[in-house]
Amino acid sequence: MKVEIIRASGCHNCDAAGESLRMAALGAADGVEWREVNVLEEMDYAVELGVLSLPAIAIDGELIFASLPTAKQLSLAITRRTSVRA
């Protein structure tokens, strides 16, 4: 499962919450891949996902959180998707 945070460099919201979200994602299930997407380097991809505000979270190429979730919300979203797959 690929979890992506779409962010901009210099975004204070992203810097503050990024690490706790990364830890929550990696700890939520086995096989989680965490990727930080610099929106300025991958603008087309961000638009394709439907990102309109920053930061945002996508899971497996689908925009799941249009604004920053809590670590608990992200962990829950990953767990749900994992259980659906199983």
């Binding site: 210099g10 204070h12 929106v39 300025l40 603008m43 638009v47 309109l52 505000s53 920053l54």
Partner: protein
Amino acid sequence: MLTIGKVSKRVNVSRDTLRFYERERLLTPSGKSDGGYRLYDGESVRRVEFIKRAQLCGFTLSEIRELLSLRGDAGACCGDIRSRTIEKKLQIMAKIKVLQSMSRTLDELIQACDADDLSLEACPILHSLDQPGAARTRGAQR
């Protein structure tokens, strides 16, 4: 100090628009004349020009209010403005994507109708638009 008429001429914005900006809490007169008329200072003029330029970049009045608020916020930094600017670009690119999809759909409709002497009953464009789910852009499907 400038009257509303002088500001209006200087920034090429109507008086009604300046009053509208006031109602929208984007602009506050610096004071009032003895006769009760609004008076503006140089900062007001710069503020109106800021609003006009931001509108040209696609920012809504609500977003401009936020930008102006950030501009006067000692706790804010350029990164805050940059984030909002990037978000505006994302929104505009999303709109462009929808418009491109609409343009492609229109191309398909135009290509479907290669004769301009058909009756309305035989018009492929009208026929296509009559079909449920036809001529839907990807953006409209969302």
